[in-house]
């Protein structure tokens, strides 16, 4: 390749990277500016007199509808919802994947295919009956209800992840262990768990991102006190009393994005692996 065309390749790639980064930069810069500076300055300029006031307000005193306690309570809601939902769905998915690959029985492949349908349906088609069911069992408007919903509709994906990972483990390993008298759970704990590290990381990250970022289930099934942060953020941006505080909106958006961004930065490799594995094989 000529020097010129190589330079063009780099130029395009760098421009694309700048374009991808620009909204994040604008968010961060805006969140650190005063409203006066936003009005007078440029969208992409760095803050001249950085202030953390918008961040404090977004965290603890901005109005999200009728409540004016910032995003703080909803951040905890999201954590309380996400952590159990991720752990439960991942653990069940691991066991399912184990059964579907190492303990195949007649019809297990058909059952797996039937289970996969859960990855494809638009969730709108289950919202109404689920809202009714949660109401009947007293779980509507509660974090438990949200945990339940996220576990139920996450299982198809977590099972898929583990099934595709375990399918490459030779059956001989299993047979040898069984000859030695190891039972169902012993084999899982002693043989599969020690080699399952990477897939657990991939699955946990995938589920964490999905559940933390979910809006649909949150807005439909949560009550005023159990809303996840995505719903609260949307309310915060929509609640305007007088002047529109863009700096507070942006600080709030970054707060809502921080946990998943953090995961992406420390474990991006696994994030991408989950993304492509779930995608290509799904």
């Amino acid at each position: 390749m000529t020097k010129l065309s190589r330079a063009c390749v780099y130029a395009v790639l760098i421009l694309a990277a700048l374009y991808t980064l620009a909204p994040l930069w604008v968010m961060v810069a805006t969140s650190l500016k005063s409203l006066d500076e936003i009005r007078d300055g440029s969208l992409i300029a760095a803050p001249l007199a950085p202030t953390v006031e918008p961040w404090l307000k977004a965290w603890s005193s901005a109005c999200t509808g009728v409540r004016c306690e910032g995003l703080k309570p909803f951040f905890w809601n999201s954590l309380l919802m996400t952590i159990p939902a991720v752990l439960i769905s991942t653990f069940i998915g691991a066991l399912n994947g184990y059964v579907l690959t190492q303990w195949r029985f007649r019809g297990s492949e058909v059952l797996f295919t039937a289970l996969l349908v859960g990855c494809f349906i638009p969730f709108q088609v289950v919202l109404l009956p689920m809202a009714r069911t949660l109401g009947m069992v007293g779980l509507s408007d509660s974090i438990f209800g949200l945990i339940f919903v996220h576990v139920v509709y996450g299982l198809a994906f977590t099972t898929l992840f583990f099934r595709n990972y375990y399918v490459s483990i030779p059956q001989d390993l299993m047979k040898a262990a069984r000859v030695d008298g190891a039972g169902f759970f012993t084999i899982f704990w002693r043989i599969l768990m020690p080699i399952s590290g990477p897939i657990f990381v991939v699955c946990i990250i995938w589920q964490f991102t999905q559940i933390w970022n979910d809006f649909l289930f949150g807005v439909v099934f949560a009550g005023a006190d159990s809303q996840p942060i995505t719903v609260a953020l949307n309310n915060l941006v929509r609640t305007s009393t007088g002047v529109k505080e863009y700096n507070v909106d942006m600080a709030a958006a970054i707060i809502a994005a921080l946990p998943t961004l953090f995961v992406y930065i420390v474990a991006g490799k696994y994030f991408v692996r989950g993304l492509t594995a779930g995608a290509v094989k799904g």
Binding site: M1, Y10, V12, A16, A17, T20, P23, I38, S42, L43, I92, N96, Y98, V99, L100, W103, F105, S108, L115, G118, F120, P122, Q124, V125, V126, L128, P129, Y153, L155, A156, R178, V179, G183, F184, W212, N213, D214, F215, V219, T230, L233, V237, Y246, D249, M250, A253, I254, A256, A257, T260, L261, V263, Y264, F271, V272, L275, T276, A279, V280, G282
Partner: protein, 293 residues
């Protein structure tokens, strides 16, 4: 060999809660939604049979057609642009680029964000007044206007802009993985024959990426049909109803306007759309890959 009795039923027992959940909460609930769509239900479920009345209501509803048209516009542009940009970046990245890992990490970070977050960010960037419009004006183009966000005819394209920004990196990652899987011997042979790089890509590499095109289309189509959060955060379906999509229609009629039957009918139509897109794609793909082997 000591075969334990427990090992005969334990695996099935372990799998059964998931199967029961899937049977009830996926298949059962789909059936209930379908059933609801054939009833008189308004604010509360009412199991009086209404035949196809709800569907006739739906097809008579101007908002539904706005939603469907918006989904068609958004879906087509979103898929086409994400794929085109993703493929271009993937091919460029595949030229033994220094700092490839770093660049890749940048292109992909939007996928870690919630659509609500990116919608909020783009809502601010695209707002006429203080956003992009003012920025370009300050660069010496005082007459520049960019009011798509509040212009009913153009607002749906702002959803495309934000959606493509978020998902193009994802398409890039899948294409890049596909490119890395192409047999380097074939490429070397073509180079020996004197084929130029663009020709090699056009004639040899891109055709072998067909399965990747298939999965990218499938996933982007899926994201597009389910698109709810992005539109909610960016435009809220507005101005007016200009950027309504079926997911918002379904939400509004089911949960805000108390029209369960109509909401259910719209949900069923969404499911049908997914099936109508997925099934032929998957059928074509299995047939093609079966013939290729």
């Amino acid at each position: 060999m000591t075969s334990r009795v427990a090992d005969h039923w334990l695996p099935k027992l372990v799998l059964s809660p998931t199967l029961a959940a899937s049977l009830l909460f996926v298949y059962g609930f789909i059936l209930i939604t379908v059933a609801l769509s054939f009833t008189e239900s308004r604010l509360l479920p009412n199991w009086e049979w209404a035949g196809i009345e709800r569907y006739l209501d739906l097809f008579d509803n101007e908002r539904w057609w706005t939603s469907a048209a918006n989904l068609a516009i958004f879906g087509t542009l979103f898929i086409a642009l994400s794929m085109a940009i993703g493929l271009l970046i993937a091919i460029l990245l595949d030229q033994k680029i220094r700092g490839e890992g770093f660049l890749r990490a940048i292109y992909l970070y939007p996928m870690a964000l919630s659509f609500i977050v990116s919608g909020t960010a783009w809502k601010w960037i695209l707002n006429p007044g203080l956003g992009l419009e003012k920025l370009v004006q300050s660069w010496g183009f005082p007459d520049f206007t960019f009011d798509w966000l509040v212009n009913p005819d153009m607002a749906i394209y702002t959803v495309v802009i934000a959606g493509v920004w978020q998902s193009a990196g994802f398409a890039m990652a899948l294409f890049l993985a596909g490119l890395r899987g192409v047999d380097s011997e074939i490429i070397k042979a073509a180079q020996v024959d004197g084929a130029s790089t663009p020709t090699i890509y056009r004639r040899i590499i891109i055709p072998t990426l067909r399965p990747v095109f298939f999965s990218v289309t499938l996933i982007l189509a899926h994201i597009a049909i389910k698109s709810f959060d992005l539109v909610m955060a960016l435009t809220g379906g507005g101005p007016g109803t200009a950027t309504d999509v079926p997911a918002i229609f379904m939400y509004q009629f089911s949960f805000s306007r108390g029209q369960l039957g109509l909401g259910a009918a719209s949900a069923v139509m969404m499911l049908m759309t997914v099936i109508a897109i997925m099934v032929p794609l998957m059928y074509a793909e299995t047939k093609a890959s079966g013939a290729g082997r």
